[in-house]
């Protein structure tokens, strides 16, 4: 117990922000409760009514109220998964705001940091408390939520988001935790750069938002793709659950042509296919098995960025304190 107890500057930081920490803890518990309850409830109802003649999702007024009830449970589950995915995606932005503003820049703005630095707490120790401690706590909390999200995806009924969807991919793997760590590092850097609460929050929030908006556009290129071509006009070469990066038609010489070559403004598709010697459609895609390599490569990149931002923040601190 004593080994775990916080001491010195760590205890001070936790004590100062106890209100925020309690709020975060309550929100965490509520989120976990929702992620447990809703999938179980929806799965249970879907199972109960699977054998009935009433369709589950299409309530047209001809079935009983139960249909409507199931429909809303199914809907609640899907909405929860969609919204929770987006919430997990945006979580790093909220963390960046907190670390940059109340945790670091406010102390620099109000001057309370000087008081800490004279109380046998070195500047580096002071910043470590304000970066490593939140990184550990927020990272662990996010990892728990991601674990719950993965479980809820598995436990609920019906359609789940595609594994590669922008709001699903970071909510199901280590990438989500890496973004939280990056947010903390960017927040520290922003706070030390401007040393004012609200501008630091603005800059940290914007920087984190830009990173989580840009990365999905690069994601597809982070691991080699698979190429496959079908040998008849209607055979789609990529299987189900694949993330298609590029598609088109390929002719007998192996040349890739645009997929809509024979679609635009034409009704006789077959004649067009024969005329252009098309042997079938092709697709360039990621298989579902590329999920882990993609996750790990992106995690590595984000962690490298984190290290850069953290190093810059500590350098800046050394200059400030010197």
């Amino acid at each position: 117990m004593n080994g775990l107890a916080l001491r010195g500057p760590d205890w001070v930081a936790v004590r100062v922000h106890r209100g925020t920490l309690w709020t975060a803890a309550v929100l965490l518990v509520l989120s976990v409760a929702l992620l447990v309850a809703v999938p179980l409830w929806a799965a249970d109802l879907a199972e109960k009514y699977a054998g009935s003649s009433c369709p589950i999702r299409l309530s047209n007024g001809s079935c009983t109220d139960n249909t409507w009830f199931i429909a809303s449970s199914d809907w609640a589950y899907r909405e929860l998964m969609a919204k929770a995915g987006v919430a997990l995606l945006l979580l790093p932005v909220a963390f960046a705001l907190f670390v940059a503003g109340p945790l670091i820049a406010r102390e620099l703005e109000s001057g309370t940091y000087r008081m800490s630095w004279t109380q046998s707490v070195s500047p580096a120790r002071w910043l470590t408390t304000r970066t490593v401690l939140p990184a550990l706590a927020l990272g662990a909390g996010t990892a728990a939520l991601i674990g719950m999200y993965r479980w809820a995806r598995w436990a609920g009924p019906g359609v789940r988001g595609n594994w590669y969807a922008d709001s699903t991919f970071p909510a199901t793997g280590p990438v989500g935790v890496a973004y939280v760590l990056l947010a903390v590092a960017l927040a520290a850097l922003a706070a030390l750069l401007v040393r004012r609460t609200l501008p630091a929050m603005g800059i940290a929030g914007a920087a984190t938002s830009i990173v989580i908006w840009v990365m999905p556009h690069l994601r597809g290129h982070l691991w080699p793709t698979t190429y496959a071509a079908g040998n008849s006009p209607r055979s789609w070469p990529a299987g189900p659950n694949t993330w298609v990066q590029e598609q088109g038609l390929v002719d007998s010489s192996g040349k890739r042509l645009p997929y809509d070559l024979c679609l635009k403004g034409m009704t006789d598709e077959n004649a067009c296919w024969t005329k252009n010697h098309i042997s079938g459609p092709y697709a360039v895609f990621h298989r579902a098995s590329d999920y882990w390599p993609l996750q790990l490569v992106e995690t590595g990149i984000v962690l490298a960025l984190t290290a850069l931002a953290a190093a810059a923040a500590f350098r800046l601190l050394r200059r400030t304190a010197a």
């Binding site: 299409l58 409507w68 809907w75 403004g265």
Partner: protein, 319 residues
């Protein structure tokens, strides 16, 4: 806080010197607000300009032109049906995704505005005491708050108004070219952006101001204002479908798309399968204006009530 932003009262002789050269320059309290919040002002102007640039790019960029070309003549003799393209054409899917994303941004302005108003506009001045300083400089608290709300309200109304008008033009273009899926997207896109979007940004301003006056601290007001504005937006949205009577069964104007079967009190469409019940809240496209105006009225009334409460709170604190 740098020295240039602190509201120092100008030394007495200075105004006489500059009076001639600055007829266009706003004076007193108005100038203070503009000067103090010039960063926010420029961020807002940049946001509006960049957004309009993005809207133009969506329409005139290669993808948008491609999507329009794909659908040219669809539904007429010798061409495919318009809805055959809905899922297959990459340019079309991309254009539609961009429309949805920009709409998402426009619909979520209120929490951002509330965060700014709660923290930077009002909360910070109450926290560090510069508000009290202003009140001793022959600016009454009520006048102070009125200017603080009126100036950003003017900028928000003009900026959001221009954005909404541009977005509606883009949306009209996409409807003319049959780019929207029936039902679901008309519900999220078509009915979502309009005069009410402008009203929501003003609601965000009112919510942020009230949060700041109640909490009198910048960061808590930022969090509370943003959360309250977001909750209000979320709470109002589901009622949008009930703001105006739904269309009659079999009304051919509903959703304007082939392949719709009638159901319940409205029209069922296959493309609505992702929502809970394709039949609820079915509103034909020509209900757009009544629905928008009713919603605008409700949101503005709510904002007015919040502003009134803000003045009340301010009055109590200073009585």
């Amino acid at each position: 806080m740098s020295t240039s932003t602190s509201p120092h009262p100008a030394p007495a002789p200075a105004p006489a010197k500059t009076a001639k050269t600055s007829r266009l320059r706003p004076s007193g309290q108005l100038w203070t607000v503009l000067r103090l919040h010039r960063t926010a002002l420029w961020v807002w102007v940049a946001f509006v300009v960049i957004s309009i640039g993005v809207l133009l790019w969506v329409r005139y960029g290669s993808t948008g032109v491609d999507a329009a070309a794909t659908l040219a003549g669809c539904g007429t003799a010798g061409h495919r049906a318009c809805d055959e393209w809905m899922w297959s054409d990459t340019a079309l899917v991309t254009t539609r995704d961009r429309l949805l994303e920009i709409g998402q941004v426009l619909r979520n302005l209120a929490p951002v505005v509330a965060a700014w108003a709660g923290a930077a506009l009002i909360g910070r001045e109450l926290e560090n005491g510069t508000a009290e300083l202003a009140w001793t400089q022959s600016v009454s608290p009520a006048r102070w708050l009125a200017t603080k709300l009126a100036v950003p309200a003017a900028f928000l109304t003009v900026g959001a108004g221009v954005l909404v008008a541009s977005y509606r033009m883009l949306l009209d273009w996409s409807v003319t070219h049959h780019m929207l899926r029936a039902g679901y997207e008309k519900y999220t896109l078509y009915f979502n952006i309009g005069p009410a979007t402008v009203a929501y940004t003003l609601l965000g301003l009112a919510v942020g101001a009230l949060a700041a006056l109640l909490l009198r601290r910048a960061v808590p007001a930022l969090v509370a204002g943003a959360a309250a504005a977001w909750l209000l937006t979320v709470a109002i949205a589901p009622w949008r479908g009930s703001l105006w009577p739904v269309g009659a069964v079999g009304d051919s104007s509903l959703w304007h798309l082939p392949g719709s079967d009638s159901c319940g009190g409205g029209i069922y469409n296959h493309n609505l399968i992702d929502s809970v019940d394709p039949c609820i809240s079915a509103q034909p496209a020509d209900h757009y204006l009544p629905v928008q105006l009713v919603e605008t009225g409700i949101v503005l009334a709510l904002a007015a009530v919040l502003v009134l409460i803000s003045f009340r709170v301010l009055h109590r604190r200073n009585a």
